[in-house]
Structures are given as structure tokens and as C-alpha cells.
Symmetry: C3
Subunit: 267 residues, 3 copies
């Protein structure tokens, strides 16, 4: 299969669906998640009160859980939302932001993975390696430093966790343990903008709402986002004008451009 | 009366007052509300702790309540702030974000409308229609789809609620039940940016702090915002560069441009 | 000592350290704080749950406490984080946003100053004057109006509080009571963007993580930020394009430009 064309097809389908992506996420990058959803062609909703959780999840196409600014109240909401999504067969994406930086984050991510059926676990190399129990060195919530073979860590953790695992970095790896993709789109500038990881999770949520092929949909999300980043980098004067161009670029991204520019490889 | 010139006059007065607009709002678009207030010529404040609510409301020119990301703690704060504002004759604007998406939102909005004297209820067509009990179809918090005659819904709900009602969309309607305005400024691009509805409520708050004519002030807020959007759309490459231009455009908006470009019609 | 060159040297050292700056801050400008840290060459982390506070502080180079949107839960977290930082000799920066607007803010800021060893207290003139007990007139959280001699207020409050005090405005003053600097970089446009004060505190945190000379490091933070503002203003069309250019400008700021353009004077 031509994965670039498949990526373009899956992205186009997502735009046709205009899926509602429900987020329980951090207050640092939440606005970026909302806007990137719109620019992608999806619709965002952010709600975290237990009082409305069952109702809000019920109308969503996907649920994105992001532990960037955790607290007890949010953890309860995430559990409730995740259970509701599982009952209704609504795909759940977990972004374990900063796992490894503190035991609280690590334990919370593991608890969520234990109690919920997570369709896609999406983290950077350090985060995934931490959850996988690798000898990962993680500093803060932004570090991507990790030792070891990334693809192997990704594949093995997909088997152990039972999730589709997406591990982002200069090259992204996506694996369910038996099938794996590498995505090579992107630009270094993306690491200079707070929240690109969170935005990627939003896009994964939008894509896997298709429930066609979560692995290929996840790879397509990362490829489209990376390609928008490549386009954005052309006109950028620095990180913040790049950020503007990234959003604009995703909104303007044509299916034909994706079919030509998506660098998704079956491994 | 020449409504465009009246709009310009009211907007100019607001800039002279530089009103402090107190917000209890959602964490998704709160930064946009702060910056749009500054660009308009007002001053924003965001505070939601009950410990300081009475004091903060007391120094404000208007109070904006936005239920975008509700929780129990915020609801208590909104009630306390609204009562204080009512006691002190400070205008209250309610933006019932996402009403209809979940019963919790609908009940909370109705409770606030019941317990507080709301000067202006500002929502999109779906939100207002939901509160009015019309057969509205609302999907998520962003939908504006609704059936029925919008002006009639707006007028009737103004009578039933006792509020000035502003119903935004491709055309905005503002009514107190007996007097109504239509505002035709704006650009389609505004729907591609998260938070334009919230920003409009901030501007309504800034304007009605004048306590001169809440209905005309509300129409003027929507006209000025829409005209800034029209100006912004000229230079935009996409949703996010449009957003930048929208803020810049509002800050640069001249009284003479508003007098020439405001499309406010008495119905 | 040539303070411009010293400013450049200290800023360069900070970039080499790439310090992790831990924030407990408000939800209005938190994204700006994250991005300005990255643009400066530091790494941001935002976390406010008591469950992870001791662990997160332990890996940080500095702690920034910002009371912009206070509540009881955040106050507990700030106390815990501050005590942990003090134990570990990690510099603490306090930004008393809106002090004077409500007794809750004033009392909370004073309590934090009483219970914690704050390395740098950074506020605008009105905020510092309020804490100093001067006859300051403060309206809302953004006002910088204050009467009296600013340098004297700054110096005296440095003695009384035992902190390094940074008082921002058209001219910034930084003092430990015996030694004082004036920083004259900046652009009027910075007051048209919500959160420039919060961002300055982030930069102060990044700089004082060096633990070389907190006073000179604070002055250097304000000079670098102001110079980035001067550069940004050249290309700005209005407040929001200025904001983009401010971030880009800080990221692009060369050590040689800082050595040439920093306007830091020993008083």
C-alpha cells in the first residue's frame, strides 16, 4: 500500500467527519489544542467536570487525556470519562506528559493505562521509555533524551501495554507490536514551541475517531502535522511566527500535498 | 438615528472610560479575552476565588460570566460575583457556552439566569435557541446550527428571560423584546478561531459598562469586533494569522472607520 | 564593570545551563510563560498539585510563584513548593500580580513573603508600592500608576522585605537595598500585551537559577526582555503581531546585540 496516499485518504475522511474531540487536558496548551483541532478540520471540546462527563463523552468522536497539569480532580474526571468512552467504544488517546519527571505522573499514567482501554498512547521517547521501564533519562516535561533503540522500545511496549504506541521525536514510531510505521515529517522548529506534543495528541484523537485503522490513522495524524510544520518553517522568522504558520499550514494542507509529502514507512 | 455613527460614539466612550472587565471564564480562551480587552481599550481582570470575589467585582465596570469550562467551584464564584454585581448595579454579561451539549451546562445557565439579573445574554444561535426551548440542534460547544426564525427566537427569549439577548452568527441579532438590531459585520474566518465568541462577550462587557443603552452598546460591541475581523481577513494567510490581524485590527480601529463601516440596522 | 557586557555574559550562561523553571502561575498567561522560557533558551514546567510538588521542585533550577489567579489550592501548593525550594537552595521568584486590588491578594503575597525566603520579588510599581505600604493607587491588576519616588520605594522595600526587589515600568529598578540598577530597555507596546509582566518573571527565574549574582541576573533578564521588545516593535502592526515578534526577537537575540543594546545602569 502507498502509505502517503493512504495517509491523505484517512486525513480527508477525518475532515469529512468533522469529529468532536473531547479533551481533558492541561491549562498550559489547551488553547493550542482547540485551535489545532479547528485548523485540522475537527471540532474541539474541553470539559472536565464530573457532572457533565458522561454526557460530553457521549457526543464525542474521541477522547484525549493529557496529564500535563494533573490534579486529583482531573484524575477523577479522566477515569470517569475514559470508562464512559470505553463503554461506548469511543477511542481514547493518552498523552502521558512529563511521565518520569515525578512519581505522581508515572503512577497516574500507569493507573489510567491499567483501568482504561487506551487506543493510542502517544508520548515522546523519554515518556514512552519511562513507561516501558527502559533506562530512560527524562528531564522535566519537555526532554526527549533517551538511550536505547527507539523502535524496539516502542514495539515492545505496544505488546506489554496492549495499546497502539506512538513515540514522537525527530522520527516518529508508531506500533501495535506486530505492525510498525515510521513517520519522518516535521521540522526542528516544532520543539521550540510549547504544546506541539499536545497538539499532536489532539490530531491523533481526531484521526482515530475514524475507527478504521488506529495505527495508520495515528501515523497519518503525525505525518500531516509534521508536513504542516515543514510548510510553516518556510516563512517563519522564529518560534512564534513559526507557530502561526504551523496552524495556518495545517488548515491549508491539501490532500494532494499530503499524498505527495507524507513520509510514512511501513517497517 | 444613524446607528453606525452611534456605534462609533459608544465605542469611543468605552475607550475613554477604559473599563475594568472582570471575567470568570474558561481556561481555554481566557488569554484571548484578556488581550482582546486590551486591544479594545478596556482593562481585563480574571479572578475566580470566592475569597476575593466581592472586592474584585466592586472595582469592575462589568462582569462577564462564561461557562466554557464549568465546575462546582466556578459556579459558586459566579453566583457570588453576580449577586455582588447586581447589588452594586454593575452590568452582568452571561455567555452560556455549550448550553445544550450537556444538561449540566443547561441547568447551570438557567440557574444563573434565575438567580441573577443578567444584563446581556450572549450566545450563538444554538445556545440561545436551547435556552429558549426551541427545537435547536446543538452539537458540541461550537455549533451554530439551528432551525427556525432566528430573530423571532431572539425577541421572544428576550421577553421570557427579561435580558437583552444577543444571538451571534453570520448575522447577529440583539433584542430586548421590543427593540431589535441586526449586525452584519464579520468574516467567515472568525469561526475558524477558537474563542471568538468568548472575545465578543468580553467586548460586550466592556461596552455595557457604559450603562447608557445596553442594547445599542451590545450591538456596537459586535459591530466593532466584526469590522476588526473584516479588516483582519484582508491580510490573513489562514486562521492563526487572521487571529493576529483581528487583535491588531481592533486596536487600530478608528472611530471614523467604525462610523463608516458599522452595519447595524434597527429592525 | 560594563553592565551591558555583564548582562550579555549572564544571559549567555543561562542559555548554556538551559535551566528548568518551575511555575505555579495563573491560567491566563501560562502559555506565554512556557513559550517565553523556551525562546529565552530555558525549559518551562508548570505543575501545581501538592502530590508532585516536592519532586518537581527538586529537579528545577528556579521556582516562579505568580498569584494572578489565586485560589486556596494554589496557595497551599505555592507554600509547599516554596519551602521545598528553600530547603534545596533553589531561587524563588514571586510575582505579586494584582496586589492591592483585593485584600486576598495582598494578604497572600505578604504571607508568602513571610513564610518563604524569596530571592526576587518582581512587580510593577503599583504592586511593589502596595507591599511597601506606600500611598499607591492601584486599579485592577494591570495598573502601574503610583506616586512617590520609585527608586526610593524599591530600595526601602528591599531592606524591609529582605528580598531583591524588581519594580518594572517605563524604567525598571532593581535593588537589594544597598546596590541598585536601572534598566531602560523596552517598548511601550509591551503594556498592550497581556502577560508581559508574567513573562518577565519567568525570565527572572531562568536567570537567577545561575545563583551568581541575583541582582545583576534580574537586571539582565529585564534588559534582555526589553531589548527583544525593542526589536519586536520594529516590525509590529499592532499588539498581537508585536507579541509574535517579541517571542521571535528573544529567541534570535545575540549576545553581541545584548552587549551593545542592554541599558543597565548601576545607580
Amino acid at each position: 500500500m502507498n502509505m502517503a496516499r493512504e495517509t491523505a485518504r484517512l486525513f480527508d475522511r477525518m475532515r469529512e467527519r468533522r469529529p468532536l474531540v473531547h479533551h481533558i487536558t492541561n491549562y498550559v496548551t489547551v488553547n493550542d489544542c482547540a485551535n489545532i483541532a479547528i485548523c485540522a478540520g475537527a471540532a474541539p471540546v474541553m470539559a472536565d467536570a464530573t457532572e457533565e462527563m458522561d454526557d460530553m463523552v457521549a457526543i464525542a468522536g474521541a477522547l484525549v487525556l493529557n496529564i500535563g497539569t494533573l490534579n486529583e480532580r482531573l484524575v477523577s474526571s479522566m477515569l470517569q470519562a475514559g470508562k464512559r468512552a470505553n463503554e461506548m467504544d469511543i477511542p481514547v488517546v493518552l498523552d502521558p506528559v512529563g511521565v518520569g519527571a515525578t512519581p505522581y505522573r508515572t503512577e497516574t499514567a500507569k493507573m489510567l493505562l491499567d483501568k482504561l482501554e487506551v487506543s493510542v498512547l502517544k508520548g515522546n521517547a523519554g515518556e514512552v521509555a519511562t513507561l516501558a521501564g527502559s533506562e530512560a533519562k527524562v528531564v522535566g516535561v519537555d526532554s526527549r533524551e533517551v538511550s536505547g533503540d527507539l523502535l524496539t522500545i516502542c514495539e515492545e511496549y505496544a505488546v506489554l501495554s496492549g495499546c497502539n504506541v506512538a513515540m514522537t521525536g525527530p522520527q516518529d514510531f508508531v506500533s501495535d507490536g506486530t505492525r510498525s510505521y515510521m513517520v519522518e515529517n516535521g521540522d526542528d522548529m516544532m520543539e521550540m514551541v510549547s504544546g506541539t506534543g499536545c497538539m499532536a495528541s489532539t490530531l491523533v484523537g481526531a484521526m482515530v475517531s475514524g475507527k478504521e485503522d488506529a495505527l495508520a490513522e495515528t501515523a497519518a495524524a503525525l505525518a500531516a502535522f509534521g508536513l504542516a510544520g515543514e510548510h510553516g518553517a518556510r516563512s517563519a522568522q522564529g518560534p512564534m511566527s513559526f507557530k502561526t504558520a504551523l496552524f495556518d499550514g495545517l488548515q491549508a494542507l491539501k490532500v494532494t500535498e499530503l499524498a505527495a509529502g507524507a513520509r510514512v514507512t511501513r517497517l
